[in-house]
Every structure is written in structure tokens, then in C-alpha cells.
Amino acid sequence: MSRIFRSTDQTAAAADQINAENDRTGRPASSSISRRAALGGSLTIAAAAALTACGKSDSKASASAPAPGSGSGSASPAGAASGFEAGNKVIFVVHEKNAFFTPVQKGFEAFGAAMGWQTQFIGPASFDQSTVVNMMQNAVNAKPAGLILTRIDTTSYDGVIKAAKAAGIQVILSNVASADYQKLDVAFVGQDFIPAGVVAGQQLIKAVLKHSGRKDGVIIIGKIQAGNSALEQRGQGIAQAVTDYNKANGTTYTTEDLLVGTDEAAAVSKIDGRYSRSPGSIAGWAGTAFECQFVSTWAKSKNLVGKFGNGGFDLTSPVLAGIADGSIDYTIGQNPWAQGWVASALLAQQINPGYPSFSYDTGAEVVDSTNIKTVKTREAKFA
């Protein structure tokens, strides 16, 4: 029974054991534990010290990183030369770090290097509402000169944006702003999602007609993530384009949502499952992000390339490779570089001399077989 109830007074029991050990060995057990605990503590401190070094090296790397295409990193930072923003800390917090954000980060860091900023680009590996809010709050607590944030719903991030502004931190939104962001008196650099979705829908119908000529069937609207207002709005735009086309041309396309996630193996299984349910019903796959790369992988494995229209958004390398090999018909770019670089430039003028920012639409660039070489060459600079 003493074993059963040991935890009701674990500390007392442990103390008794220590006393017994003390008596048996003739040396104080506490000193031994203290040494071990101190060793463990030292281990923790050593790990933390290594991280300090990481943090410092990261800042240095940012300050000396050349802008893609500049050819050299040796030019003196313009901001530093003018004496304006050198040394300012600017933090970019995204809702989820994934492949899309690589050129965004590069654009941000390139501008930061030119200004002599200490840049930091952070976000959780997978989206969770309160984790993102906490990261943003920690960024505010770091007292940077400026913050660039993604706002993927209409309320959750407003408290922290207001807190940042109240603390005198300049804020700008990038990539996704959600409805009513203007009430926060912040600008937004990113795509206008519904019109971009309409462009995507039009491209998909063009691809369906090219591949099969069919005038009916389901257009699957793929999503990599639930609860992301940007993807939902693109999906609305795609559905709107399909409805408009049906009305104008007497076709009977329908749309259907499919959440596939970002894990390729799981996404391919879901795509295959949907196809297997009714193979003849599907006219095309219209992604709201980079789902088309998963459709490409699946179609190649099943020898189904060219049987459907397939397209999506973003300029990630697998998507561009799919366009180059013909397994993807189109993608809609949103100039991710600008979402880092232009957002930083607008933030810089907010910080000093203090001009208010304006929103900047990073567009809906159609990339297909006609311009893929040029786009691939351009995007390779971010690899």
C-alpha cells in the first residue's frame, strides 16, 4: 500500500529516502543531486547560449544578404548610408511557414539588407490560431520598429495589431488581410483574391475545353487548408467564373470543394479517392493554392495526364515543373517577392519619414506553357 499511495506525499517519501541514503553512505545526497541538477541546468544554459549565437548569426546573414539579381552584396546599404533605418528591427510573422513563403522571405530580407535592418521571419510549422497570436504578441514584445503580418481571419489578430500600433510599432499586412482590415488603419500588400479566383476559373475552363472538349462535369476546387479566408475567396472566384461561363455558353459545369491538406502522400490519396468515386464525372481540378502539384503527381502515376484540366496558384518549383512537363495547365502567380519587398518598402516609409501606407495589389499573373521558361528563370533566383 505504501507503494500505491507514494504520490500522496511524494516529497516527504523522497526526503526520507534521501535521509536513508545519507545515513548509509555517510555523505549528503543533496550535494550529489545538486551537482546533477546543476549539470542539467548548465546543459539548458549551454543550449540557450548556442541559440543566442544562432540569433546573432541570423541577423548578420540578413544584413549582408544580396538582393537576388543585384549581382553583389557589397554595395553599401542605402538606408545605412542615409542614416535613416540602419539597425532597426523588423519582424515578419506569417500564419504558417510553407514553400510559398520562401520568395516572400527573400524579398523581405533583401529589402531589409538594403536598409541595414535586423530582419526576422517567423511562423508556426502548421497553423494554429492561438499559436499565431502568441507569436505575434512575442514579436510586439520584442519592440521592433515595424511588423509585417498576415491576417487570415477578421477578428483574431486585431487585438495584437492594435497593441502593436498602441506601442508605436508600424504595422503593414501582407499576403492575406481578410475583410475589413481597413478599420485597423493598416495597408495590405497582396492579391485581390476573388478576381484572381475568377482568372483561375477562366483558365481552368480553357484547359478543360482544350483537353476533352466536354461541356459538363465537375470542377474540383482543391484547398490545402481550411479556415483560410484567402483560399476561400479564391474558391468563390473560381465558382463565380464557372457560373458566369455556364450562363454565357449554355454549359453545365458544376463545382465541388475538396480539402487535400499539404502532405503530398495524403493529398494524392484524397485525390485518388475522389476520382475513384466517379471517374467519368471530373472535368478538371482547380486548386486555390498549390494543390495542382499533387494532382500532377497523381495523374502521372495513373497515366491520366491530359485527361482533365489542372491548374492552381503560386509559383513553387514543383508547380512550375508541372507546367514545363505539361501535367499542369496553368498557375496564377501573386508576386510573392513583392509581398516581402514592397511590404517592407511601404513599411520603411511608414517608419521614416512617416508617410501613411497604401494597399498594393500584387496581381494575378497567368503562367502557362507560353511563358513558363521566362518565369522559371526568374523564380530560380529564389531557390
Partner: protein, 338 residues
């Protein structure tokens, strides 16, 4: 000057008592994580800019509130020898239901809160009953729960975030500042952890929980209804997920179907870093609080230190491992003493 024998005895007694207290402290399961927390705190205080400000420290306390609240239930469950992998999904689903019930069903906030907390308890109870009646390992049952409940959240919302109540009273109750910059969430966490800590360490039910996780057969022989204890712990954990959902929606004004995505790992990490054993019978609320604090301090310090996002993933793992090793070193020593 002479010393009377009585005075000498008193002094010796006081000395023994002080020594006993010290030995009890260093012998505690939480001593390792206490050392790790103190080490991280000291490092941050000395070397990290903007760390040692009241606003930042209170902000860290706010950030660990959800881990602390759900972690309190998870501590009891793990002490009882079980685990719940579905807490992140439960928290997500119940957040969504909280937002849905106040906006779509127009329920009063208090009634909606009772509904989600009760539903959380029911979900936990069902998982507990499946685990105990059918002798299915809880990690399997709750892994299935993780998928089912997340799917339910996505179905209810059609994948979109839901608006919550805009009631100022509700917001200030759970999302405002209680005193100065001290967030209401921090007080909720403190109340829950203190209350359940008391239950775990000072009541018959707490003894039963330790007994169930420590040696289930012996506990049964001693007349403890171990299955009932486990089901209650599951239900309690579910109810706390409901409470966390109620607080989250009041704080942020919306609920996302992906709320709590991967959150189960953060909660389990806090409980384990805090000294609880995955095999049951060991663990305390104070340890879990320290485990949550370690996670919160690390997340906060990495941003303040300017560590890049990708490195933060690595750094978090390294520091948690270091904290666990610190704890383990002490535990190993204790085992040797036993």
C-alpha cells in the same frame, strides 16, 4: 555563557527541520524542471533584451494559459495511467461550437459555455468508457477521436472561421485584463490549476488517481474503482477543453476549425517536461505549470532573441530535450536512492 540543554535541542530540531525541507525540495519530481525553468529564466533575464519587463512576463503567463488549463486535465489523466491525444481536436471543435451557438443559435453566452463544457465532458466520458470497457489503449481511442473531432469541426464550419460573440462582458471576463496587464486567461489558468492541484494532492479522489496509475491491480485490491477514476479523468479533460474553447472565443472573437492543430503535443510535452510519467502514477500540477512555463519562456525568448523561424523549430526541440534531461538526471538519482 552557558547553553541550556533545552535550547540546544530546539536549535538542533530547527536545523533538522530546515534540512528536511531542503531535502524534500530537491527530492521532488519537479525539482529538475524547476532548475531548468530557473536556468532559462536567468539566462533570458541576463542576455535577452526586453525579456525582463512586467508586460513581457505577463504576456508569457497569458500565452501558457491554454496549455495550463488543458494540461491540468491531462496531468490527472496521465497520473491515472492514460493519455488523450484528441485534446487539440476537442479544443478546436468546442471552440467552433461555442462560436456557432452564440451566433447561429443565438444562445446566451453562459448557456453556450455550459453546453460546450458539458459536451466536452461527454466526449471525454465516451472516450474513457471505450478505453476502460473494451480495454482498448487510450492512445488508440483518442487518436481516432483526434480525427473524428477535427473532421466534425471542419464539417460544422465548412472549413471557414466562425465569428464569435461581440459581447464586451464576455470579452472582459475571459480576454480582458484582470488587473493592470494581468490577463484574465492567466487567472483562469491559475484557478483551474490550483483547484485541481488541491484535488490531486489533498483529496481521496487524488489518492485514487495516483493509486490507479501507480499500480492498478493493487488499487483494485484496495477497493478503488479504477475504471471509474479513469473515466472521470477523461471527462474532466474534455470539460477543460470546452472551458478553453469558451475562453478562446471570448478572447479572439472567432473560432477557426484548425484551432488546436497539433496542440496535443504541446500539452503532453508540458506535462512530461513537468515530471509526469507516461506510465502513470507520477506527476503534479506544479510540475505541469513549470513545464508549460518552460515552453512559454522558450517560445517568447526565441522571438525576442531574433532567432529565425526555421531555427525556432530546432531550438524548441533542443531546449525541451535539455529541460527533460535535467529532470531525468534528478529522477535517476532519486530512483537510485529508492
Amino acid at each position: 555563557m552557558t547553553t541550556t540543554p533545552g535550547m540546544s535541542l530546539d536549535t538542533e530540531f530547527d536545523g533538522d527541520r530546515a534540512q528536511g525541507r531542503w531535502r524534500r525540495l530537491i527530492g521532488a519530481h519537479e525539482f529538475g524542471v524547476l532548475v531548468a525553468t530557473a536556468a532559462i529564466f536567468a539566462f533570458c533575464a541576463l542576455f535577452v533584451n526586453h525579456f525582463l519587463t512586467s508586460e513581457n512576463l505577463l504576456s508569457v503567463a497569458q500565452q501558457i494559459a491554454f496549455i495550463g488549463i488543458i494540461g491540468a486535465g491531462m496531468t490527472m489523466l496521465m497520473v491515472a495511467g492514460e493519455i488523450d491525444l484528441s485534446v487539440g481536436s476537442q479544443y478546436g471543435l468546442l471552440s467552433v461550437l461555442m462560436a456557432y451557438s452564440v451566433t447561429q443559435w443565438q444562445l446566451p453566452v453562459a448557456l453556450a459555455a455550459v453546453l460546450v463544457i458539458g459536451l466536452g465532458a461527454l466526449i471525454g466520458m465516451i472516450q474513457g468508457l471505450i478505453t476502460t470497457l473494451f480495454k482498448v489503449p487510450s492512445f488508440v481511442v483518442t487518436l481516432a477521436g483526434l480525427a473524428i473531432l477535427r473532421g466534425a469541426a471542419l464539417l460544422i464550419t465548412a472549413g471557414q472561421p466562425l465569428q464569435g460573440s461581440t459581447s464586451p462582458g464576455y470579452h472582459s471576463l475571459v480576454g480582458g485584463n484582470a488587473v493592470g496587464s494581468l490577463a484574465a486567461q492567466t487567472l483562469w489558468m491559475a484557478a483551474i490549476m490550483f483547484g485541481l492541484g488541491w484535488v490531486l494532492s489533498r483529496t481521496k479522489f487524488g489518492f485514487d488517481v495516483y493509486a490507479t496509475g501507480g499500480n492498478a491491480k493493487a488499487a483494485l485490491n484496495a477497493g478503488i474503482r479504477t475504471a471509474r477514476v479513469k473515466v472521470i479523468c477523461f471527462a474532466l479533460t474534455g470539460a477543460l477543453c470546452g472551458l478553453a474553447g469558451f475562453i478562446l472565443v471570448g478572447w479572439l472573437g472567432s473560432a477557426n476549425p484548425l484551432t488546436g492543430n497539433g496542440f496535443e503535443l504541446s500539452v503532453i510535452a508540458a506535462v512530461v517536461v513537468g515530471g509526469a510519467s507516461l506510465t502513470g502514477g507520477v506527476g503534479t500540477m506544479a510540475g505541469t505549470l513549470l513545464g508549460a512555463l518552460v515552453a512559454g519562456l522558450i517560445a517568447n525568448a526565441l522571438v525576442l532573441m531574433g532567432v529565425d523561424g526555421n531555427w525556432q523549430q530546432v531550438a524548441t526541440g533542443v531546449l525541451i530535450l535539455a529541460a527533460v534531461l535535467t529532470n531525468r538526471l534528478v529522477a535517476t538519482r532519486q530512483a537510485a536512492l529508492h
